[in-house]
Symmetry: C2
Subunit: 200 residues, 2 copies
């Protein structure tokens, strides 16, 4: 299944066709592909090249570790994410390693890295569903995440399911159209809320 | 100039070839291209599809607005970013619009959107240099950013300069090799710090 964005301006195919399925098929993502997804994260930009991201990962064939990661998700996410081929908890280092000072960009830069994962996945026909709905305290306790690091998001990684194979609730979510604000609603010039002439 | 990442695993050309120049040429980025970059941001994933990002933008041919944005950068960034074709301040909405509750993913999701901008730019031969080095209070006052929003980063957008046209300091920065931690340093399974067998 594909779910291309209906864009007002042309964008690269990877960006237009990335989406976040709730339904995943049984097909496993290969170890080689997972390495490429993580390699894509590796090359994201970051403030002072700090690379504040870490990834806790398990594949479904490692049932014990997969269940430990699944337990770090809020219950509504566990229901569908248990079908993913791999699960990830992303982690941000709050402070710069070079001087111990707070890194205001830490969570932002985890977003940059995880965005690369999503696009690399899209290029490989794989889907990633990012979730803020995790239990950070459970993740910290389960995996021993240090105090100066934060669990940020969960990632469900797999091949999107054929929607006809899904129950009504998931099928409805996966086949509903993708919607966004318009550029004029969030691109401003001169003053907050003043639509930029560039996007008129 | 290109500056491809030396990857340990293959990644998509857009991800491998994205980089953050300090030197920008005089060539202007077209309005059409800027719209496509912003459109790419529009289609990023976000928690509950909140789309917490906004973009304050000016092009160099709008000298007054360009200078107002330039003044929101820390001084060392102003020196080189003044050569960019367009400047942006990214802004995050701290709370969900649907219920007013804090959105823990706000800064993270601005990162997702800005990452899309960088990759769309790369696809068009354009470069984006993201900066955490901004003056958020100046941005708030200058543009009237509301209290429940945060200025997050600056973006310098343009065509990378021919390094031979740059002074020694910028040329050195733009021609130095790109370096990253190895996957084994940040991809863990079972326990924080325990290298994942997937990336061994």
């Amino acid at each position: 299944m594909t779910k291309r964005a209906e864009t007002d301006h042309p964008v690269h195919e990877l960006i237009a066709s990335r989406w976040s399925p709730y339904g995943f098929s049984d097909r496993a993502v290969s170890r080689d592909d997972l390495c490429c997804l993580l390699e894509a994260a590796r090359w994201a930009a970051s403030s002072y090249n700090e690379q504040p991201w870490s990834y806790l990962i398990a594949t479904r064939d490692d049932a014990e570790q997969f269940q430990r990661l699944l337990a770090c998700l809020v219950e509504p996410n566990r229901e569908w994410a248990q079908q993913a081929s791999a699960l990830v908890i992303t982690v941000a280092a709050r402070n710069f390693s070079r001087n111990g000072k707070p890194n205001a960009a830490a969570w932002h830069d985890v977003g940059l890295a995880s965005g690369n994962i999503s696009l690399e996945a899209t290029a490989r026909g794989i889907a990633v569903h990012q979730m803020i709905g995790i239990l950070p305290d459970v993740a910290r306790e389960t995996f021993g995440i240090p105090d100066d690091h934060d669990a940020v998001t969960g990632l469900a990684i797999g091949y999107a399911a054929d929607p006809t194979s899904l129950d009504d609730s998931l099928r409805q979510r996966d086949t509903s159209p993708r919607q966004r604000k318009r550029l004029a609603d969030f691109v401003f010039t001169a003053r907050w809320g003043q639509r930029s002439p560039l996007v008129e």
